[in-house]
């Protein structure tokens, strides 16, 4: 079965950062996918297996949407594909779905391309009647994605940019801290973004003792629990992000270890990118 890209949209393309959205046929994934889950895909037979969040499922459940930022070799190769081009492989849904409670106050925080991940989660919380407060963060205005979509499912909505070109100047944690300090009701903080951002969110919520979940982007190979590449220390225990996660209690995550483990192949990645994109 060929996996031909159906649609492609460039969501952002500034400052050397490109965020791309593609839609691919995947009925076996779409039929079972829930918010918070991911897929693993390969661009070519000689390619890597990389995990990417399922950003959406189309209405008739035959296709899924994936949003990614071009960074390493595989995401850059993926970004080169156009509608009609085929992926080599795609499997999922993987990981535990987000647990969606009812009648709660939920703060959903997305940074950078992590906003793609929080979108289906925000939709799922809203659909169950929760009160959703969304805080989005981007480096600059042009890198902000899914603003309108998220606004529609949010009761309260905040935007921050690092450079102040849009919304409030500063970081998502500035808004978060103010809301918590103002004693705004909050049962859960759910954050996805770059590791430093998630870590900062965790540090911000800890003094307030608010339950905080983060979805981790550990390195993976098979993504079905077979290899242990994605192991993270959570509460002093080794867990596999792929089958035990990808969501974990932010206050229990060993962030230093995660940061180091995500750099295992930095040299090799730079080398292969140099060879491929002279």
């Amino acid at each position: 079965m060929s996996i031909k890209i159906l649609e492609k949209k460039i969501l952002a393309d500034v400052l050397g950062s490109k965020i791309v959205q593609i839609k691919v046929p995947a009925k076996d994934v779409a039929a079972y996918a829930k918010a918070g889950q991911f897929i693993v895909l390969m661009v070519a037979e000689e390619g890597e297996r990389i995990p990417l969040t399922i950003a959406g499922v189309d209405k008739d459940k035959t296709a899924i949407t994936i949003i990614f930022q071009e960074a390493g070799l595989t995401t850059r190769l993926l970004g080169k594909l156009e509608p009609g081009d085929s992926l080599y492989a795609l499997a999922g849904p993987l990981g535990h779905p987000t647990e969606i409670g009812e009648n709660e106050d939920v703060f959903i925080i997305g940074g950078g391309v992590g906003i793609a991940e929080i979108y289906p989660v925000a939709c799922a919380f809203k659909a169950k009647g929760n009160r959703v407060t969304t805080i989005l963060g981007a480096r600059t205005k042009e890198l902000l994605i899914l603003e309108e979509e998220l606004k529609k499912v949010s009761d309260n909505f905040y935007i921050t940019t690092d450079d102040g070109t849009y919304g409030q100047k500063g970081f998502v944690t500035d808004v978060l801290k103010n809301l918590l300090a103002a004693k705004k009701p909050c049962n859960l903080v759910y954050a996805v973004g770059p590791i430093p951002m998630m870590r900062k969110v965790s540090e911000t919520t800890k003094p307030f003792s608010v339950k905080t979940l983060v979805s981790l982007n550990a390195l993976m190979v098979d993504a079905t629990g077979m290899c242990g590449c994605c192991r993270v220390s959570v509460g002093g225990k080794t867990r596999f992000s792929c089958v035990d996660g990808p969501e974990f209690d932010a206050h229990e995550v060993d962030w230093d270890e995660l940061i180091k483990r995500n750099k295992i192949y930095c040299d090799k990645e730079q080398h292969i990118c140099k060879l491929s994109f002279k």
Partner: protein
């Protein structure tokens, strides 16, 4: 006077350890004839009793002596669909060769006098592969259109069961979670032990028999077992032992500490030894340490040493094992090959703690020396740490190859499926049927880690039950 066993040709260690090409070259026709002629053709042969699938060894060897190689191949195929695979990966020294009347009794493994049954099997299997006109399709017992069986997992158990069912005329669909077929034969066993063209050939043969394969399909995540039962008359679970065990010692999550599964998957399935032509990387170090003593540890060690040589490093790969050489669970041939290639063995050693640098990469492994005590539950003498014997070894890549646990990705979402305390699927030993009617299982998900041929033995029992059940239902 007895004739000398015919040695198998191998690529010399200094050459082969610089690439991933096959190590054993196999018998020539003349060599196979000489080795087959050593067989005593016992009136009551013992060898077959040592084979988990009961190959008629005496007959196939006799056929080789008669130069009826196609006949030899089909004799094997009556019991084992994959002679070219098993002739390469079976631990014959524990099985058929240990049962051979020519081996010295009372030894732990077959002695060199035993007939080289596995090499003859490989010869016959490869003959059949190169002369495919002689393949049998087998008798059809039931209407192919009426009955369909789903197989979960395309490893040894899955493809063996698929072959048995297809020969009986049953429509089979094999679901595989990964993007390539073969399970552990693909991601675990390196190409220098099992060349990929052999595996590809066997899978192609199954396709020609009408077996459908669906890769990238994770039963339990995509369709459930219940959903499969609505579409299929029976389901066979050949899920394998999927989850790697770790040592549980300090520093184990430092960078460049791999499970054997991860290391081998990167190298074998993802072809990391071809990086950057293949995009998946694997890190290579000056001092590579493999922990464990099974076949997986030998495979990892031999891959590690090859990677060092191919990247211009001095070969420095060490296997650490907590017992002594005789207890090493690996095939004797793998141990010999590893030693010839220059892999060092540090025996009676227990890892205590990994030590890393400021960037989080492993640099040293602290160990304790052990001595052997009384036999434990496994019958092997138990390693006992010697207090104060601590020492450090250089280690910039570590591979932990100490075993696997059941993969729970399917069993966790299938509550009706009974599992034991290890997470292995419980079956009726005779029929291989699980606690769910019409759902069968075999291979490592049933008995824990075993060999390819043991998995095939279970798959054959399951296939027999499925065929009987479906025939009776007609």
């Amino acid at each position: 006077m007895r004739k000398e066993p015919v040695k198998i040709k191998e690529v010399e260690a200094p050459v082969r350890s610089g690439n991933f090409e096959e190590v054993i070259l196999g018998y020539s026709e003349e060599e196979a004839l000489r080795e087959a002629a050593r067989c005593l053709q016992c009136k009551n042969p013992l060898c077959s009793s040592g084979c988990p699938v009961g190959i008629d060894i005496k007959t196939f060897i006799h056929k080789i002596t008669q130069k009826d190689y196609a006949g030899a191949c089909s004799t094997i195929r009556q019991k084992n669909n994959f002679p070219s695979i098993c002739g390469r990966v079976c631990p014959a020294e524990y099985q058929c060769r240990k049962a051979c009347v020519l081996t010295k009794r009372g030894e732990r493994f077959a002695t060199p006098e035993a007939i080289n049954i596995h090499f003859l099997e490989r010869f016959a299997g490869d003959y059949g592969m190169n002369n495919p006109a002689n393949r049998q399709s087998g008798a059809k017992c039931i209407d192919a259109k009426a009955k369909k069986v789903a197989i979960v997992g395309s490893g040894p158990a899955g493809i063996c069961c698929a072959g048995e069912l297809a020969r009986a005329g049953i429509k089979v669909v094999v679901y595989e979670g990964l993007h390539k077929l073969g399970g552990v034969l693909r991601y675990g066993i390196p190409p220098f032990r099992l060349p990929r063209n052999i595996l590809d050939y066997e899978i192609e043969s199954l396709k020609k028999m009408g077996v459908d394969f669906v890769p990238n399909f994770i039963v339990g995540r995509n369709k459930s077992v219940d959903e499969l039962l609505k579409e299929f008359s029976a389901v066979f679970l050949g899920l394998g032992a999927g989850i790697p065990s770790f040592l549980g010692i300090k520093g184990e999550n430092l960078c460049n500490i791999y499970s054997a599964n991860e290391f081998l998957t990167r190298v074998n399935l993802m072809s990391a030894y071809k990086f950057p032509k293949a995009h998946t990387p694997v890190n290579i170090g000056k001092s590579m340490v493999i922990i464990g003593g099974g076949n997986t540890a030998m495979d990892a060690a031999r891959c590690a040493l090859r990677l060092q040589k191919m990247n211009g490093l001095n070969p420095d790969t060490t296997v650490l094992y907590r017992r002594s050489e005789v207890e090493l669970p690996a095939r004797r041939l793998e141990i010999e090959h590893a030693k010839e290639e220059g892999i060092k063995f540090k025996l009676l050693v227990k890892p205590e703690e990994f030590l890393g640098d400021e960037k989080g990469f492993v640099r040293k492994l602290r160990c304790l020396q052990c001595e052997l005590g009384e036999p434990d539950a496994s019958g092997r003498r138990k390693p006992i740490e010697i207090p104060g014997s601590g020492f450090e070894v250089d280690c910039d890549i570590a591979v932990v190859a100490i075993g696997l646990n059941a993969n729970e990705i399917l069993t966790k979402v299938t509550p009706a499926l009974k599992v034991d305390k290890y997470g292995d699927v419980v079956v009726d030993e005779n029929t291989m049927e699980t606690s769910i009617k019409n759902v069968f299982a075999g291979g490592d998900i049933v008995g824990g880690e075993g060999t390819v041929i043991e998995a095939m033995g279970m798959a054959k029992r399951a296939a027999k039950s499925i065929i009987e059940k479906l025939c009776n239902q007609r």
